[in-house]
Symmetry: C2
Subunit: 345 residues, 2 copies
């Protein structure tokens, strides 16, 4: 049995789902992979939960709220790096699931950098940290001989990076197309069924699918971050968010979606990465697109996501599905951890 120390940053929906999943999967992880994953610290901006041994969810929150006052496991002012230092050795894994800013990458960027510098692997769900810092973080990971994985930031339970990097190893990726955001796909699916934009958005918000402030999703930025990260990983490139042409679905005319449907087609917020006109440069864009029923992503409806890779030697490979909720995201992060530490198979 290999004991793997984890430090978790961010204790929102995904962080909590990760904690529950770890508990649920404990025996299975030991039996199938020989891994004992133990959360040693949970970091927040103001301090850390830390008790010198594996933490239980009850030491962190009570009634769904973080429990700091009077909690012996809460150490105000203790930093994530301190917790890592106190543990001593290299070779643990940071599980980063804060909501990081897309301009600065913080707070995730600092957490991830510090962990990699300390010789810890990092499994990251925070898009901000990656969009801002990926080239530097990759170099840090390589320099320190540790892994940096981010399925949680690239459509989570829908395998995207895995397929591009592992299942298509040796093939040259010649184009990528994806429906990468469940919220906008839900809204567009419902618009195809007769709702107008405002109604579909309201319904998505009422169901907890869309955020109260849906801008990040409906304006296309979430999709843009994902296609950027996937493209850079699969091609080994360093495109920046500003290189992605982004048009969202805000206020999309219901007529357009309905008339597409009458013609047997559908409107999807499609992310595309393809070789551009300038030699060696790719074009990355996100925009509402009409697709035919024979398109491999045509049946991706509701909150589902999907991605198609075009390759030179394996043809076109499409992956669809994967649960779009915190449990799915937590499962994607757990998957990355297993794939860092498992024995060869």
């Amino acid at each position: 049995m290999k004991a793997v120390p984890l430090v978790l940053t961010g204790f929102g929906h995904v962080g909590r789902a990760f904690f529950s999943l770890l508990r649920e999967k404990r025996e299975d992880l030991e039996r199938r992979y020989g891994l004992a994953l133990e959360v040693l610290a949970v970091g927040r901006a103001e301090g850390c939960f830390y008790a010198g041994g594996p933490l239980d969810a009850r030491q962190i929150s009570q009634a769904g709220e973080p429990w700091t006052s009077g909690n012996p496991a809460w150490h105000a002012g203790l930093k994530v790096t301190d917790a890592i230092d106190r543990h001593g050795g290299r070779g643990g894994c940071l599980v980063e699931c804060t909501l990081s800013d897309l301009e600065t990458g913080e707070p995730g960027l600092s957490y991830v950098s510090a962990a990699l510098r300390a010789g810890w692997h990092a499994v990251v769900a925070s898009k901000g940290a990656l969009v801002v810092g990926l080239p530097d973080l990759r170099a840090l990971a390589t320099g320190n001989g540790v892994a940096l994985k981010y399925s949680g930031a690239t459509a989570a339970a829908l395998p995207t990076l895995d397929v591009g990097l592992f299942s298509l190893a040796g093939a040259r990726v010649e184009g990528i197309q994806g429906i990468l955001n469940g919220t906008t796909n839900y809204i567009l699916t419902r618009m195809g069924e007769g709702l107008d934009y405002a109604e579909a958005l309201k319904e998505a918000q009422d169901k907890g699918i869309a955020e109260p402030d849906p801008a990040h999703d409906v304006e296309g930025w979430d999709t843009a971050c994902k296609i950027l990260l996937i493209t850079n990983a699969c091609l080994g490139t360093d495109y920046a968010l500003k290189d992605v042409h982004v048009a969202g679905i805000t206020g999309l005319a219901a007529d357009l979606v309905r008339s597409a449907r009458r013609e047997g087609r559908s409107v999807k917020l499609l992310a595309t990465a393809a070789p551009g006109r300038t030699k060696g440069r790719w074009t990355l864009d996100v925009r509402p697109s009409l697709i035919d029923p024979s398109h491999p992503l045509a049946q991706v409806n509701g909150t589902e996501k999907g991605i198609t890779f075009l390759t030179d030697s394996m043809g076109s490979v499409t992956v669809t599905g994967g649960r779009s909720n915190p449990r799915g995201a937590a499962a994607a992060m757990l998957k990355d951890i297993i794939n860092i530490f498992r024995p060869a198979f």
Copy 2:
């Protein structure tokens, strides 16, 4: 740069495509993965091509035929194990692409066993060897600390094992459904377009999609082998081919396919693995099935293949596509080799 010695058994369509692909990808493999793959021997029943260094395709065949008589690289009577022994060290990789018998597993089974015993990894396309010998081969691989991979035998360029074992690591697979044979799917697709069974089969044979003797495909055995291997790998079980209930598409009534189509549905040769009525035992079957247009595999037409995994924590994940030809199969074997030898990522 890591030099990886390979020994190839079988030099039919897939073996030749593998050779070409290696040459085409040489620079790319060095640059992207730091790997220099070198074919040291090509084994046949009667002897080996072996020249004490990396072989070139011209040393093996001329005008598309194996070149033995008068060929200084041909050694009648030399065994694959001799070639491995002559190389010396452990840690090379056998690339097994013979057509092995489904009853005995030979000749592949002997090649793979010998390679694993010699401390060589094995990448296997031969279904016979795996269907007959998988439990023993797995034990041999584990005991010798080497990898046994077989994407080439499990739908090739369509990632099936990768997704089940890597992309879904940590999730519990609760059901598998697949369209796993391109030939039968082509015939059924053309029947949906109006041909009767005999016409569709003839067309597939004329196009080189179906074999002159199509029994292995149309009677469902190829599909049965694949669902068996995928299920055993993902669940860690040891079901045998006799545990799979198999019904093929031989002589399927054209009326049935056409009337399904009129109702907006389609007929597919579906392989299913699902928990059975006996606790702990799964039911594996292969049979022509009617599927609705909303089924995740409904758009898998022509020679395409597809697979759906149902899981506890990641929802349902479907993969479709992947080139169904010798180049696609060769690319799948190359992918397995890369994933055995590449640096951590």
